[in-house]
Structure formats: structure tokens, C-alpha cells
């Protein structure tokens, strides 16, 4: 079944951002600009969520009223390599004053890399209205907009225990094995893709014993979707990259992956919400699972089997 993004219903409490750049996207209701957010900070039905790679960044100053949700501490199960279950998710949300009807605007550091990851996890639980702040923390701060260290005191609300849907936007290793021959996007850096590097440049070795990529994957480093200022590129530029260079089509069944599923959440967002792909799954096991799995096929080198060559710029 195709993933159905949230659409305008009869009773949407928080209006959408009608910014013309956003309007060109397939699902403009999933993105807001910094200017729009600044005007809607006091909306009682909206909660701003900060989700960063650096767990202390929120404490140094955040968008007024924003709550913090950390991908490690709040969204990952502490024991099993999986996301939290419905009960824990309800606690994470309810304890921050987020109800099922709350409009969420998520933002974070590093071009929204981790914010997109949090948004993807929120989507596994089907939170209806969740949007990303275009440009994230960097854009907000660069414009000299307000930041505060004051932690909001939001009263706890009830959030229903909703079971995670792992079947529509999430792929597991066996799904990838069954998918071989169909479109795959590897969003890591060219060095990781070719197998020269087992981890991101300048990032920790996260323990994959083999280097390379899933056979047939196209290499489109995730950050190519972001412009210099950290905001998403416009629709046309994104189409040039993903439809032109990578050879994908909006009705393709696509699986995206990276190292642990964070960078590919960003690409999942771009393909699903900005370009309107119907069926994109994020393989969160990603290279730390595939590169350690016994007897799964691996391809090395920069060669690719689909579309035209992707240039090597814009790695993270």
C-alpha cells in the first residue's frame, strides 16, 4: 500500500505556510519557513521540537517554546536495536505536552539531518501533522531570530498508545534482499559507497567489517538536497538530481539507506514529501547491518547500474 502523506482535512487547526518556494513541492504542508514559524510560535496547537546530533545544543539556546526530543535517548530502544514501542512513544510525546492533534514543527542542527530522522520516526507512529523547518537551526540562527535557554513548562497531556507501522516507510534487511534489482539510493559519501571508507569522513568507525554498497544502488549523498544555506533546494533542482542524475521515477518503489538510517531519513523526506514519490522506504539497519551480514551481496567501486553518473560534490 502506498504511503499516504497527511493531507488537508476539514479541521486543520494550524494553517499551512503558503510560501511560493514551498508551494512547488509535492506536499508543501510538510515544510515551513523560518518567517512562518516566527509568526506562529504562539499558536497553542503547535509545538516546536528540536532534535539534534549534539545532545547539548538545545541547552545552549533553542527556539522559544521548543521542546527537545533526542534520537538516542528518546526514540531508540535502550536495549534492542529498534525504535521505542507505542507505550514509550506515548510517554515521550505526552510528557512534552504533545497530543495526537498537535501540529509539530521539527528542526535541528546539520541541515536538519537528525530532525528528519525524528520526523521519520514520528511518521512510523503516524503522527498526523508533522512538518520540518526549512533550513533548521542554522537558518533560524543565521537570521538572528530569537533563541532562549528557558525550557518551556508544558503541561503533560495524554497521547494515545499507537502501534508503530513498520511496513510502509521502513525496510528491514530481508526487504532489501527481496528488493535487489529495483531502485536503491545509497546516500552516504562517495568514499563510503565505493568501499574505501567504512564510515563517514571525520566520523567514528561504527563497526562494519565490509565496505561497499548494496548492489545496484545509486549514490546520491544526502546533503545534495540542501543548498548552501542549509535550506532544501527548489523542486526543479531536486528533480534534476533525483529524477535526472539518479534516474528515479516518482512511481518507483525505492529503498534509501546510509550508515544507521539517519541521513537516509533526510532523503526519504525529500523523495516522499518534496518530490511526491509514492513508495519510499528507509532501511534503518543500513550499512552497519548490511556490512556485517554474512553472505549478503556487496558491490564495491564507484560504478553504478542506473542512470547517469552522479557528481561527487556535496558530501556531508
Amino acid at each position: 500500500m502506498a504511503y499516504r502523506p497527511y493531507r488537508l482535512g476539514g479541521t486543520v487547526p494550524v494553517p499551512h505556510d503558503s510560501d511560493p518556494k514551498l508551494a512547488a513541492y509535492a506536499h508543501p504542508e510538510r515544510v515551513v519557513t523560518t518567517a512562518w514559524l516566527a509568526e506562529h510560535l504562539d499558536d497553542p496547537d503547535l509545538v516546536v521540537v528540536e532534535s539534534d546530533e549534539d545532545v547539548l545544543l538545545y541547552e545552549t539556546g533553542h527556539i522559544p517554546g521548543a521542546v527537545k526530543i533526542d534520537w538516542h535517548l528518546d526514540l531508540n530502544d535502550p536495549v534492542t536495536r529498534d525504535y521505542v514501542d507505542g507505550a514509550r512513544f506515548a510517554e515521550v510525546m505526552g510528557s512534552r505536552g504533545i497530543g495526537r492533534d498537535t501540529t509539530l514543527v521539527v528542526y535541528g542542527d546539520k541541515d536538519n539531518w537528525w530532525a528528519a530522522y525524528a520526523l521519520w520516526v514520528f511518521s512510523l507512529f503516524g503522527h498526523p501533522d508533522v512538518r520540518l523547518l526549512d533550513g533548521g537551526r542554522t537558518a533560524w540562527a543565521a537570521e538572528g531570530r530569537a533563541l532562549t535557554t528557558e525550557v518551556p513548562d508544558r503541561p503533560r497531556v495524554g497521547y494515545p498508545v499507537v502501534e508503530r507501522d513498520d511496513s510502509t516507510i521502513r525496510a528491514f534487511r530481508d526487504d532489501v534482499l527481496a528488493h535487489l534489482g529495483r531502485p536503491l539510493v545509497d546516500v552516504r559519501s562517495p568514499g563510503e559507497f565505493s568501499g574505501e571508507l567504512l564510515h563517514m569522513p571525520d566520523y567514528p568507525q561504527e563497526g562494519a567489517v565490509r565496505g561497499g554498497h548494496v548492489p545496484g544502488a545509486a549514490n546520491v549523498p544526502w546533503a545534495r538536497a540542501a543548498a548552501e544555506d542549509g535550506r532544501f533546494r527548489g523542486r526543479e533542482e531536486l528533480e534534476t538530481i533525483y529524477l535526472g542524475e539518479a534516474g528515479l521515477a516518482p512511481d518507483d518503489d525505492v529503498i534509501a539507506y546510509c550508515r544507521i538510517g539517519e541521513r537516509s531519513s533526510h532523503t526519504w523526506f525529500v523523495l516522499t514529501h518534496l518530490l511526491g514519490f509514492d513508495r519510499v522506504r528507509n532501511y534503518d539497519g543500513s550499512w552497519t547491518e548490511w556490512g556485517n551480514s554474512v553472505r549478503v551481496p556487496i558491490e564495491q567501486g564507484s560504478g553504478r547500474s542506473r542512470g547517469r553518473p552522479v557528481d561527487q560534490q556535496g558530501t556531508s
Partner: protein, 145 residues
């Protein structure tokens, strides 16, 4: 804990007495108190040792003065407060100690600060790596001297 230097043990006690959210605040204070890089290192960043195990790359340098006191220098961006906080703890807990005392600090000392709950154990690997690299530099010097 007899195997820990006094300053480090005090830091560990402080963290140990706190809730996870208070630990984050203290870590933030350490990040703010990390001394700026002195001029002589600002001009020689390329001679500092990179610590790629940290999420945001950090550079460190180790000096040993004429009285065998260890001095630590760190360079990490303001946008990486967690990494700076780890460096701040290492600086506050170890700077000025004799070489042998730093070498005697257990490799897992960063894991015993109760920070796992506050920042996640995965993130603490960067701090373990910093300590490991400091000790390795000191061992090389000791062997050479």
C-alpha cells in the same frame, strides 16, 4: 575510588549526585569553561592530534612542562557543546597532574561519570577516545624520554 586523581574524583562525585538533566547542565558548564586555545597552538592547529571518534571533529595537544606536569589543549567548535564539554571535563580533571597520574587514570573513567543516561553511551565513546589519545601521547613521550 582510589585509582582516580582528586580533581577527577570530585567531578565524578558531582555528576553522581545529580539527576540526568542536572548532569547535562553541568556538562554545559564544562563546555563553557573550556579554555581557549593559546596563541602558540592557534598557529599550529595542524600539529594537533585529531580525534575522529568524536561526532564533531576535535583536536587536542598534550604538553609536559619542566616539572613533569601535563597540560592539555583542545580545539572544538562552539556548535559542538557536547564534545567541548567532554574536553572541559578532561581539562578540569587532569590538567596540571604529573604524567604518571594521568597514565594511571583508568581507560573507562569517562564511562563512570553517570553521563551515559544523560547523553547516551554511544556519544561517550568520543570522550573515551580523547583520554586514550592523551595517554598514548604521554606513553610515547615517556618511552622517548
Amino acid at each position: 575510588m582510589t585509582d582516580l586523581p582528586t580533581a577527577w574524583a570530585e567531578i565524578a562525585d558531582d555528576f553522581g549526585a545529580m539527576t540526568p538533566s542536572e548532569r547535562l547542565q553541568l556538562l554545559l558548564e564544562f563546555s563553557e569553561e573550556l579554555p581557549d586555545l593559546p596563541e602558540r597552538w592557534v598557529d599550529h592547529r595542524d600539529a594537533m592530534e585529531p580525534v575522529p571518534e568524536c561526532q564533531t571533529p576535535l583536536f587536542l595537544a598534550v604538553e609536559v612542562d619542566a616539572h613533569d606536569r601535563v597540560h592539555l589543549f583542545f580545539d572544538a567548535p562552539r556548535e559542538a557543546p557536547t564534545t567541548r564539554g567532554f574536553a572541559g571535563i578532561l581539562h578540569a580533571g587532569l590538567d596540571g597532574l604529573p604524567t604518571q597520574e594521568v597514565l594511571a587514570v583508568p581507560d573507562d573513567a569517562p564511562l563512570r561519570l553517570g553521563l551515559g543516561e544523560a547523553v547516551s553511551p554511544l556519544r561517550l565513546r568520543g570522550m573515551v577516545a580523547m583520554l586514550g589519545r592523551i595517554k598514548r601521547q604521554l606513553r610515547v613521550r615517556t618511552a622517548a624520554g
